[in-house]
């Protein structure tokens, strides 16, 4: 959705247009969820983060003013704060994080396929866990939330060039880990 269209939708939602509110939800709820999933590597926690983020959007959207970062930067800053709160709660509740839990597949998925998915998910969790916080944020926003490097820069309050460098290093690290893992296996 182009910025101009998004702006119109946000304004309508602010004025109580339920259709516009539904459009915003459908557009951003999955992206917030995937962002939280990459950050937290826990499906239920990611769902909680997505729900809590939209509860905050519901309360705060009236006060939202369209400034430089736009709606996406504002939304994912809220999501980022909610993720931090969730991480604090989770660290108290769970001693050991088991990594990303794959969603339950279709009923016709074979046990072998399920096992492969679990293995890949664990590998992803392990790989992402190796990254620095900034790199993990970039990966979550770029490939989880689907933001561009410019949008990611606005959310993280960094320059786009810095985001591109973090992205490059993060992917290089993941490639090295993957190669090393394959070599070992």
């Amino acid at each position: 959705m182009e910025t101009r269209d998004l702006k119109r939708v946000v304004q309508k939602a602010t004025k109580g247009d339920e259709g516009a509110a539904a459009t915003l939800f459908d557009l951003y709820y999955p992206r917030v969820y995937r962002y939280a999933l990459v950050k937290l590597r826990h499906q239920a926690d990611a769902e909680d983060v997505a729900a809590e983020t939209f509860a905050k959007v519901l309360r705060e959207l009236k006060r939202f003013k369209w400034q430089g970062g736009g709606f996406e930067a504002w939304l994912f800053r809220i999501a980022s704060n909610v993720v931090v709160d969730q991480q604090r709660r989770s660290s108290r509740e769970r001693v050991v994080d088991t990594g990303v839990e794959p969603a339950r597949g279709p009923d016709d998925e074979t046990p072998e396929q399920i096992a492969v998915d679990r293995e890949r998910a664990k590998r992803l969790g392990a790989m992402v866990e190796q990254l620095s916080d900034d790199q993990r944020d970039v990966i979550a926003l770029r490939f989880g939330a689907g933001l561009t490097s410019q949008e990611t820069a606005r959310v993280m309050d960094r320059k786009p060039n810095a985001i591109r460098q973090l992205q490059f290093r993060a992917l290089a690290t993941l490639r090295d880990r993957t190669d090393e893992s394959e070599r070992l296996s």
């Binding site: 539904a22 969820y33 519901l58 060039n161 992205q167 992917l171």
Partner: protein, 328 residues
């Protein structure tokens, strides 16, 4: 900067191409990563969706109370300003209806209340005048005249109210006016005699005066004599060049005691009334003012003029005119 591998990778991830094998390797890793993330799918969030959509809809229908603060402040300010500028309006003034409305909602003093206040103030002034008239006649005279002025304003307010309460107060005003007039007459004992003499003199000389070809000549004379109100003198008001009245008719007022003296040329083409004929106050003052006034009254009128107390002078003239019957 555009050729840096970081920029090239970003360009490839955005759908572009690059020949650098490293960049392409990393783009493959990114693709795998995206696929793995998306493999997990995403919850429908159907419950959250309903809450969010309906919540946004409800917010749109419940406007913030703060949005009314600005307009309300403007309205209150305007009402306050209107109340301030109209709080002392009297019947006949443009803002008087506003004052009535404001007083009906308690934002301005009601005419009845203001009349009460004025009556109370005049009552005290008349009381004081009566007490001091023997020792300080001049001050007592001033107090009485000011009291009558205040009563005239109160009367205007009450006449507009027009309720049974107002009629009670009007009677009270009549009583106070009589007391104030009594003070004026007592401290100016010669004024009543002069007034009576003037009326009689006019009856005798009216015809001669109206025979004059140009009535304005008399008016000029009166004015030069220091009446300060020559235009209001019926004798001086025949200022039409073609006015040739053969006989001036002197009419007394309905009470037949000298009140409301009119001097009218009743011959065709005669016009000795002048432009002030409709101005009852001026006409009456003309019959009682002018060169026939004794020194003290004349001085007082001049003082009133100099002080810009037109209302006081008007009332004084009215009182002096009415003083004849009181004396009788």
């Amino acid at each position: 900067m555009r050729n840096a591998p970081e920029d090239a990778l970003d360009r490839v991830l955005s759908g572009g191409d690059d020949a650098d094998p490293l960049v392409n390797d990393l783009a493959v890793v990114a693709g795998d990563l995206k696929a793995m993330i998306n493999e997990h799918g995403s919850p429908s969030g159907s419950h959250e969706r309903v809450v969010f959509v309906q919540g946004m809809g409800a917010q749109g229908h419940s406007p913030s109370p703060w949005r009314f603060v600005g307009p309300a402040a403007v309205v209150v300010s305007l009402l306050a300003l209107l109340g301030f500028v109209s709080h002392s309006a009297i019947p006949g003034q443009a803002l008087y209806p506003v004052r009535r409305i404001m007083s009906s909602i308690g934002l301005a003093e009601s005419p009845l209340h203001e009349a009460d206040r004025r009556i109370g103030s005049v009552e005290a002034a008349v009381q004081t005048a009566e007490e001091v008239e023997a020792d300080w006649p001049s001050e007592a005279d001033d107090l009485a005249v000011r009291g009558i002025t205040g009563l005239s304003l109160a009367r205007e307010l009450l006449e507009d109210v027009g309720s049974p309460q107002a009629s009670t107060r009007l009677e009270q005003i009549e009583g106070l006016e009589a007391r104030a007039k009594g003070v004026i007459v007592r401290v100016n004992p010669d004024v009543g005699d002069k007034e009576e003499k003037k009326i009689k003199a006019k009856k005798h000389t009216g015809a001669k005066s109206s025979d004059k070809k140009n009535g304005s000549e008399d008016a000029n004379k009166d004015a030069q004599k220091g009446s300060g109100n020559g235009a209001g003198d019926p004798e001086a008001s025949g200022n039409e060049p073609d006015a040739t009245p053969n006989e001036g008719q002197h009419d007394e007022g309905p009470d037949g005691n000298g009140q409301g003296v009119d001097v009218q040329g009743d011959q065709p083409g005669a016009n000795v009334q002048g432009n002030n004929v409709n101005d009852d106050t001026s006409r009456r003052s003309g019959s009682s003012g002018g060169d026939q006034r004794d020194g003290s009254v004349h001085d007082r009128r001049q003082r009133s003029d100099s002080e810009g107390q037109g209302a006081v002078r008007r009332v004084l003239q009215k009182v002096l005119r009415k003083k004849g019957p009181d004396k009788n």
